[in-house]
């Protein structure tokens, strides 16, 4: 439904986007995730048509909306947009805002469509109110209804929840996902918040310095990061030094790890590093379990209470540190030694002492 091919964009000397490619199938929700200034908003604005594409091509459905020699005007692209600040028209009621883009319909059709949209987002009672009379979450839903009303081929959302407080953010992102899935809308959002990305999207592209570092399912981003940037940016974890024992085995301080893959950018399997080579293995907090019976002991160095669980930072005898998530009735003091055990499903290894390479063109 959405295809970006070799999209590149530079402003002055600064390369904002470099060789960006990805596909989004019809009905899928995609997400560009990255730190601020990584180029994700520029990508969104290129798709919307508010910036002029410099090279590459962008295709929506069967239509190339922007290519090397032409650019379709934003209003012709039939895309829906939800802005970070919602950009509701302050002089119009909720109803009129939602009906704003329905100029092609006659009066009754328009009224029907507006009513449908308001029902969809649960704002039927607020139809006659003005934007400033609504809460932030309600304004957000008006913006969504307004963008969906003209039946866009693709919905673009620019940091749609960043103006809301954390609790509302989570609730609303699930609500919005349900609405989009229910209506079968293809959508692309950009955000810097991985929780939002994971809650909303089927496919996530981690983007940094204008390059897509990895494009895939949230699960793969978390457990099989392609490179150190993705490993670092997504979730928590530590890199533990180890020695390659075979194609899928690495020995670390805590024992022999099975099912280790080389991170995609470093080769196909661990033998690529060489037998006996030093590597770093990404260990997530959920890879380590607390087990009082275990002979492996580690000292509690720091602890963060998170309600249902503790996140402990543990010091191994060698001085290396690992993280573990433990149900919160296991209340251990700092300095205490606790037993741990590995519970590794699949992990990835990175070349040791490799210069941190974030720019790894595919």
């Amino acid at each position: 439904m959405l295809k970006l091919r070799n999209v590149a964009q530079a402003y002055g000397k600064k390369q904002v986007l470099n060789n960006v490619c990805f596909n989004l199938a019809a009905g899928e929700i995609g997400c560009l995730l990255g730190p601020s200034g990584c180029g994700k908003t520029t990508a969104l604005r290129l798709i919307a048509g508010f910036e002029t594409l410099q090279s590459g091509s962008i295709q929506v459905g069967d239509v190339e909306v922007a290519g090397p020699h032409h650019s379709m005007a934003p209003e012709k692209r039939q895309l829906g947009l939800v802005f970070q600040d919602y950009a509701l028209f302050p002089h119009l009621t909720v109803e009129a805002n939602v009906g704003f883009g329905l100029g092609a319909l006659n009066r009754t059709e328009r009224a029907h469509r507006v009513a449908d949209m308001l029902r969809l987002v649960g704002l039927t009672r607020e139809a006659r109110q003005y934007p400033h009379q609504l809460s932030g979450g309600q304004q957000q839903r008006v913006a969504l209804a307004r963008a969906l009303a003209p039946k866009p081929r693709l919905l673009l959302l620019d940091e749609p929840f960043s103006n809301l407080d954390v609790e509302l953010r989570e609730k609303l992102s699930i609500e919005v996902r349900d609405i989009l899935k229910h209506e079968g809308i293809t959508a692309l959002l950009v955000t810097h918040d991985q929780h939002e990305a994971f809650a909303m999207a089927d496919r996530v592209g981690v983007i940094n310095e204008g390059v897509i570092q990895q494009w895939g399912r949230p699960y793969d981003l978390y457990h099989k990061p392609r490179n150190r940037f993705v490993a670092d940016f997504i979730g928590e974890g530590v890199l533990l030094p180890g020695i390659v024992m075979s194609a899928h085995q690495v020995k670390v301080e805590l024992g022999l790890l099975q099912g280790v893959d080389a991170a995609e950018s470093d080769g196909t399997n661990c033998l690529g590093f060489g037998l006996g080579a030093d590597v770093d293995v990404l260990i997530r907090p959920d890879d380590i379990l607390h087990d009082d019976a275990s002979p492996l002991q580690a000292e509690v160095e720091r602890r963060a209470f998170r309600g249902a669980e503790f996140l402990y930072t543990l010091r191994l005898p060698s001085g290396a540190r690992v993280l573990t998530q433990v149900p919160s009735h296991h209340d251990h003091a700092i300095g205490e030694k606790i037993g741990i055990r590995l519970d590794v499903d699949h992990v990835v290894a990175f070349r040791k002492s490799a210069v941190v390479k974030h720019r790894t063109p595919s």
Binding site: K14, T52, Q54, P74, L81
Partner: protein
Amino acid sequence: MPADSLPSDAQSAPASYRGSHAFCRRVLPWLPVAPIALITAIPVLVVMSALADPDQEIWQHLWQYVLPELLVNTFWLVLGVGLGVTILGVSLAWLTAACEFPGRRFFSWALLLPLALPAYVTAFVWLGLFDFSAPLPTWLRDEYGILALPPVRSRGGVILVMSLALYPYVYLTARAAFQGQGRRLMEAAQSLGLSRWQGFWRVALPMARPGIMAGLLLAIMETLADFGTVSVFNYNTFTTAIYKAWFSLFSLPAAAQLASILIFFVFVVALLEYQLRAKRSYAASTRAASTPTRIRLQGGQGLLALAWCSGVFALAFLLPVGQILDWTLDVWETDLDARYLEFAWHSLLLSGLGALLVGALALTLGYAQRLHPTPALRVTARLATLGYALPGAVLAVGIFIPVAWLDNQLIDHLGLDGQILGGTLAVMLLAYCARFLAVSFGPLESGLGRISRSVDEAAQSLGVVGAKRLVRVHLPMLRVSILTAAALTFVDIMKELPITLMTRPFGWDTLAVRVFEMTSEGEWERAALPAAAIALVGLLPILFLIRNTDHAKA
């Protein structure tokens, strides 16, 4: 992030991208903007060229007989009024912003009211009351034999009256500065052992200096531009000299020569003001949020503050307004005739047309700047709005000369008779556009600035662009700004004197011209009726301003 990588400035980035489109983008916005800028630029250049190319004979005459007096008069006037408005404005601002005394709430907004009265109205009331032959001094002489009342028709008199009329400029900016300081810095000063009085001199006043300077420079610009007040007092300055050279000596070149000297002074002041404004916007962003605790003035001090505020308010507002009403009641039965209705009609027509035209030009300028935010366009918009600094007398000369030249060309080449453009409303309206574009542009620009860019993009993504977007989104959102701009311009044109006087069609009198004619014949009572009408209309935007700045609440 370097500025050139911001998305909004990046639209022209690909040079090879659709050549004709890029050309349109670059040239189209200038089509409306360039003529608007020329309306201001041409009179300035015409007047300046008189300075560059002086006529020896005229110059010698001016230098020998005219300039010495003008320079001395202008020097004392600027110095005196500058000092006067600073003392009045700062003291009143400090009292109402930082102190507590009986009546403070009332005075904090009431002290703005003199802005509604044109200075020339205050001036003729004062002359009517205190001149040698006026009832009050005569009565004092007859009853008590007091002869030593200082003459009001003097340099000191002009300075006093103009200070009373112009102090609100300083009051407004100084008060905002004092209020913005918050209390923490004064508390810090006190904790370091300074008394509050010392704190005022060493902390509050230095910090408010940019604000005070800004108001002071505006007041000085008004002083240099003033024509009505000084002519009521027969105090010769450049503006009155320009008028006399043109209409008594019929020497337009001499008028242009004088205008070119005045414009030089004005530019110096305008430049200072511009530099200050650039700095001040930076200072304003670090505003403290805490509200100051007021200094409670006890007993005698409180009464003193009350007396000072009431005194200024009475002399600057109550006295002129009361006297005008009194005179109006005396004369309205005989004066309110068909002729008077014609003056009022002329004033309303002119102000209405002017407000419409100026508003439309300002909106075009602001909109072009929004759609094509290039540095060149921004600078041009700034230049186009510089006309506010130009004295009306200068503009009248600067507009009339090219129009007369154009008329001559038309007469020569087309064989037409007489004046075609000269002496029509068109000339006046052009001059108003140059002078008051900034008045309309200010509110419209800030109104447009408040509309976020994503609103534009939201409309565009929903298929609403171009004129449709202007009508359906921008104009409704700008409603208040448009009304403000129109109201301010309307009132300013209504009060305007020199441009109207010098460029109006023959015998085409307005309320302001009527006031001028009556006062120049010393018929104070008969000037009261038109003055009352002008003051009444002038009060409206001031009340609006007071409501908006929340002076009543503070």
